[in-house]
């Protein structure tokens, strides 16, 4: 075998191969049984979290004595040797585009972060993975690769940040052709910034946090902050119709994109101008957005940018119960005065958030905490087992932020909400980034779990939350789960006509012979329940292969036909053969 050249920058080296995020960052229970968050990257890093063990053991019936550790390293014998299309490889090498068929590189790009994918990796099990990885450096490289793929009939699977939670990156086991993972990570430059029109032209492989960092240097931002922004890529956002935490100010990806360039087997698709809106038939961007890598590779995107906000302020509100909280969010949406972000956690998540409080350094803060708790539960009569909390983020110029803040708190007060301080709010948002690491901790102790999302009309929000949570509990019981599961939700986005709801669920799988299968059955049932309660198949995670079976009822037969005929025209040989979506 000839030697391959690898690209210079390689995020892969500082990330885990069988879990979430950076290798240096993880939760663990130390020798004293106390939880610790390692590394230096987050605000919580290096801190002791005293209440976590109790919460963890109490909630799941788990014990820090019962470990279920992961396989530390990947044995290359577990990986099947690559099926290489020699003619393709030869021509590819002559182009000078870096590529590799190292087992590690291939395994790294053969999965997303669904529970079953990570669980298998932790057990050292590897299924079908790409046979070769290529790292194009620019749009033209991608054009060349796609041409070669068509010429030699190999299967291409675009790879961005690898944060998929829809089995979108899984290689179809029935695929017999050579599978090429097209890694866009080297296409990570901002090509230009247009300050007159407030747009930036960016290569699609750039990762969220890097895009913000680079724009910030020029005093701008996109404001697009999905929870995965540390690792997910611009191209991935476009291909899955991503949504950001601050969409109330900046919009979702479809509102942010001005122009897209995508390389398909039929050639390059793009618009001929950079106009804010057009009446020129169906918007071709909407064939690209959400195409999930089935039509081509997004290479360059022109995005709206905004001057960085002058002032940011966090906040939080405690409500006596979830119903009141939802009513408040609905009113805020009705008055169209939602802050950059507003999220409502249910009681279980509120308690979870509390369990993640780091050790307080001074007696004074712990005294203040105690006082707050006393005020809310005893003086205001909130039931600690029913109350819930909304976290808020305001952005803009100082004066307007303060005005806006008052307006929102006034509405909250009408629904029995009590302002609960900036600190709670900030911690809430920080947890967004560390919560993904917690799943790995759970998996070290026989606890598996996942989150999934939906969008739903306002009048259905309470019903869907109640029913889906109850369904999860019932299904766990029916499927023989020995311990009561954690089944919790939060409302994470508000719209004029509805909201986005996130569910989290996890359980202790001791005593189950096939925990992943049980898990998948429960998740399947939960999705059925979502659909039966008027929720959508997905708000922003996408369909992938995980939710494909429900596409037809979601978009009708004719809708399926439309999508299929586009696919047939654009990619008749199914070069982009990840088999997502349809």
């Amino acid at each position: 075998m000839p030697k391959y050249t690898k690209p210079p920058s390689h995020l892969q080296e500082i990330l885990k191969w069988n879990g979430w995020g950076y290798s240096d960052t993880r939760f663990l229970f130390n020798k004293k049984g106390q939880a610790e968050f390692t590394g230096k990257r987050y605000r919580l890093s290096g801190m002791i979290i005293p209440a976590l063990q109790n919460w963890f053991e109490g909630t799941f019936g788990a014990s820090v004595q019962h470990k279920s550790p992961a396989m530390p390293i990947l044995t290359s014998s577990a990986v099947q040797p690559p099926t290489l299309n020699e003619a393709f490889v030869d021509e590819l090498k002559s182009t000078g585009i870096p590529c590799s068929h190292d087992a590690e590189d291939r395994v790294f790009r053969g999965h997303g972060h669904c529970l079953h994918e990570v669980f298998a990796l932790r057990e050292g099990k590897v299924g079908r993975v790409p046979d070769i990885v290529v790292w194009p450096n620019c749009h033209n490289d991608v054009v060349k690769i796609v041409e070669l793929a068509c010429k030699h009939n190999v299967c291409l699977i675009p790879y961005g940040g690898g944060t998929s939670v829809s089995s979108a990156l899984e290689c179809p086991p029935e695929e017999t052709r050579c599978i090429v993972s097209l890694d866009t990570s080297q296409m990570n430059r901002i090509l230009w910034i247009d300050e007159k029109n407030l747009t930036a032209h960016v290569e699609a492989g750039i990762v969220g946090q890097e895009l913000e960092r680079l724009l910030n240097e020029s005093g701008y931002c996109t404001g697009h902050e999905p929870d995965s922004m540390e690792f997910s890529s611009l191209g991935g956002w476009v291909a899955t119709r991503a949504s950001g935490m601050k969409k109330n100010i900046y919009g979702n990806i479809e509102d942010l994109v001005v122009h897209v360039k995508m390389v398909t087997p039929q050639g390059v698709i793009e618009k001929g101008c950079q106009c804010p809106r057009m009446s020129t038939g169906p918007d071709i961007h909407h064939f690209i957005m959400g195409s999930e890598g089935t039509l081509g590779v997004v290479t360059e995107v022109t995005m709206k940018i905004r001057p960085m906000p002058e002032y940011q302020k966090y906040g939080s509100v405690v409500f006596p119960n979830f119903e009141q909280g939802v009513a408040c969010l609905r009113e805020v949406a009705k008055q169209r005065c939602a802050p950059a972000s507003i999220r409502l956690m249910d009681n279980e998540q509120f308690k979870f958030g509390h369990a993640l409080k780091p050790q307080v350094s001074s007696i004074f803060t712990s005294f203040l905490d105690g006082l707050k708790k006393f005020y809310i539960t005893k003086f205001k009569g909130f039931d600690p087992d029913r109350l819930c909390v909304a976290t808020l983020l305001f952005e803009g110029d100082r004066e307007k932020v303060l005005q806006h803040e008052k307006q929102v708190y006034d509405i909250a007060a009408k629904f029995g909400g009590l302002a609960a301080g900036e600190d709670n709010g900030q911690r809430g948002y920080m947890l967004t980034f560390v919560i993904a690491y917690l799943r790995d901790l759970g998996m070290d102790y026989y606890v598996i779990g996942e989150s999934f999302e939906t969008s739903v009309p306002w009048d259905r929000v309470l019903d869907i939350c109640r029913n889906v949570k109850a369904r999860i509990i019932q299904e766990c019981k029916d499927k023989g789960v020995q311990f009561s599961p954690l089944s919790t939700c939060r409302v994470t986005q508000t719209y004029d006509a509805g909201a986005c709801v996130y569910f989290y669920f996890a359980f202790n799988y001791r005593g189950l012979s096939d925990p992943v299968h049980v898990y998948e059955q429960v998740e399947h049932a939960a999705r059925e329940e979502i659909l039966a309660n008027g929720g959508s198949l997905s708000h922003h995670h996408g369909v992938g292969k995980l939710r494909k079976e429900w596409m037809r009822e979601t978009i009708s037969d004719v809708g399926m036909g439309m999508l299929k005929s586009v696919k047939n025209y654009v990619d008749p040989k199914n070069i982009f053969g990840n088999r997502n979506l349809i």
């Binding site: 109640r466 029913n467 109850a470 369904r471 659909l531 039966a532 008027g534």
Partner: protein
């Protein structure tokens, strides 16, 4: 007992506990005043009946209908709102513990004189307690007596279970004082018919749903719609069942637990009243004074009552795979819509299933079998001119005989019906007296019909089929089953299952044998089959005579009102002429059912106007 354990087909039934026993040994006053702290539905927030009313009036559903009615009639919405408020006032219950305590006291006294025992399956109560905590609960008792719902509340009070709110017919409201008392013990009142009245329907359904959804109290109603005068279960009415299932189907609650309750009376208070009613002897209208006249009832012995709280049935699991709940996604849920086909058939199937669950848990006394045999003997004797009776064998039988001494007599150590054999000799005045006894007796036999109906239909089918071919027998069974589906609880679309069940039972008892193609009656099977088909004979004759009436007498069109008196006259004539065997066919219930069946089968047509 032991015999049960031998047969895996028979489910184990819970043990019964007599709740009157403690009442006979301790103070009723103390009992009525004792601490009552029922367990409630988990999410429940305390809610007064006036809060409930305002929740209904402020609901989206009602707003929508009020606006709709206003557009259609041109009335101001405020006027309609006032109307709505008045209707709700007339409808609403106002459950008060003090009233319940009053009933607990007085009913204790009454029950102790009327009944020997009131037996309840305590395991069932425990399951109910559990169900109430988990999901909103609907109680579905069988309906044989006015007693039923007071009895239900009495039992639930006794066991510290949440008291139900009960859907009751407006006829009670005629009795002013009693009506209000019942209202205060949890009854809410529904007009018997409100055909196209949108506002009334909206108020009524929203009122029931609001109580159910909030877990305010278990909702109780009678699936059969009215008291069965014949002791046979009635074809279920679907209106209220539709309403209570709706919150689940629309996702407003996670699940609803439906609990069938079987109330078996050894002797109902209304025994002769029902027979008279069926014969068309005018009944006194329900009135307070009438109720007091009923005091003489108190001096009689009505034996024991068995109340069996069945296994709670989850509506969610009933609907699994039968209803696509996504159908509610595209129209706001508060806009009233006619139930879709799949929902209509789901509710109908569920209703039959629940009535059958009630039937299965009924407690049958030996007297029921005695009555069945006495009736058969009576008619056979009548034909043969003999005087046969049942030998007085066991104590069990003799104890029921004292209870039913108005219906039987003992003659030379044999038990017989208290009726002469040859009815043609009767004077017209005693004619109805005899008929009352026969119909009363038939009502006891009817209690056992649900056990026998499927094998009996098979027995009859074998008898009438043109050959022993399995297919022939099945066709004949299918025809009879279809014919009698207004008469007995036979789930629509379950012909094959019913046929198989009947075959299974008769093969098991050794009455039948099956070859590849044929159905064979065994040597000893003839008696069994004769007994079974004789059980259905009166019904067969009843349907035949109605057909004859329609062919011979009703050449002109007939109004619905005229039908019963005319067919009754026709039947009476035939009976007195000795051309009909079964006096039972005088029962207006049977006549109505046969007309409904003929209508359903297209033999008779209904014309409007």
């Amino acid at each position: 007992g032991k015999t049960r354990a031998l047969d895996p087909m028979l489910k184990k039934r819970d043990d019964f506990e007599d709740i009157l026993e403690e009442r006979r040994n301790s103070s009723d006053l103390k009992y009525a005043l004792r601490c009552y702290t029922p367990v409630l539905y988990k999410g429940v927030t305390p809610c007064t009946s006036s809060m409930l009313k305002s929740m209904v009036l402020q609901s989206d559903q009602l707003h929508y209908v009020i606006n709709q009615v206003s557009k259609e009639t041109g009335k101001a919405t405020d006027d309609i709102k006032e109307e709505a408020s008045a209707i709700l006032e007339e409808m609403a219950q106002c459950l008060q513990l003090s009233t319940v305590r009053f009933f607990a006291f007085t009913l204790s006294k009454a029950f102790k004189t009327l009944f020997r025992s009131i037996c309840v399956n305590e395991d069932g109560i425990q399951r109910l307690q559990q169900a109430i905590q988990e999901h909103p609960v609907v109680l579905l008792p069988s309906h044989r007596s006015y007693m039923d719902f007071l009895l239900m509340s009495y039992i639930l009070y006794t066991y510290d279970v949440a008291l139900p709110v009960i859907a009751a017919g407006m006829d009670f409201m005629g009795m002013k004082f009693v009506g209000e008392m019942l209202r205060m013990s949890g009854a809410f009142f529904i007009r018997r018919s409100f055909g196209g009245d949108k506002l009334y329907w909206a108020l009524f359904s929203e009122y029931v749903k609001t109580m159910l959804k909030n877990g305010f109290a278990p909702v109780e109603f009678f699936l059969e719609g009215t008291r069965s005068r014949t002791s046979k279960s009635l074809t279920p009415k679907l209106g209220l069942l539709n309403i209570v299932m709706d919150p689940f189907l629309k996702g407003e609650v996670f699940d609803v637990n439906v609990v069938p309750v079987s109330i078996s009376y050894e002797r109902v208070l209304e025994e002769t009243l029902y027979a008279r009613e069926l014969l068309g002897i005018p009944k006194p209208k329900e009135s307070t004074s009438g109720l007091f006249k009923a005091r003489k009832i108190l001096s009689e012995d009505y034996g024991s009552i068995h109340v069996y709280f069945g296994q709670p049935v989850s509506v969610r699991s009933l609907a699994q795979g039968k209803v696509n709940r996504c159908q509610f996604n595209l129209v706001p849920r508060h806009i009233p819509r006619r139930p879709s086909e799949d929902i209509a058939s789901f509710v109908n199937d569920s209703a039959y299933r629940l009535v059958r669950a009630q039937e299965e848990n009924m407690v049958l006394k030996p007297w029921v079998l005695v009555a069945s045999l006495l009736l058969q003997y009576h008619h056979q004797n009548q034909a043969a001119g003999q005087k046969r009776g049942i030998a007085l064998v066991t104590q069990v039988v003799s104890s029921s005989l004292t209870l039913h001494r108005g219906l039987v007599r003992i003659c030379e150590d044999k038990v017989q019906l208290a009726v002469e054999q040859d009815i043609t000799t009767y004077l017209s005045t005693v004619f109805y007296y005899i008929a009352v006894i026969l119909l009363s007796c038939a009502s006891y036999r009817n209690q056992a019909l649900h056990v026998f109906v499927r094998p009996a239909l098979l027995a009859l089918a074998i008898h009438t089929a043109s050959s022993n071919q399995k297919q022939e027998v099945f066709n004949s069974f299918s025809f009879l089953r279809n014919m009698f589906s207004n008469e007995f609880i036979l789930c629509p679309g379950a012909t094959v299952q019913d046929f198989e069940e009947a075959c299974y039972l008769l093969v098991k008892t050794g009455a039948l044998q099956f070859t590849q193609q044929e159905v064979l009656v065994t040597e000893r099977g003839h008696r069994t089959l004769a007994f079974l088909s004789t059980m259905l004979d009166p019904f067969l004759q009843g349907y035949q005579v109605v057909c004859r009436f329609l062919c011979e007498e009703a050449t002109e069109t007939l109004t619905e009102k005229q039908f019963i008196p005319a067919v009754r006259k026709f039947i009476k004539k035939l009976l007195l002429a000795g051309r009909l065997r079964y006096m039972e066919v005088l029962s207006s219930d049977l006549q109505k059912n046969s007309l409904a069946a003929l209508l359903r089968l297209g033999a008779v047509r209904k014309m409007k106007g």
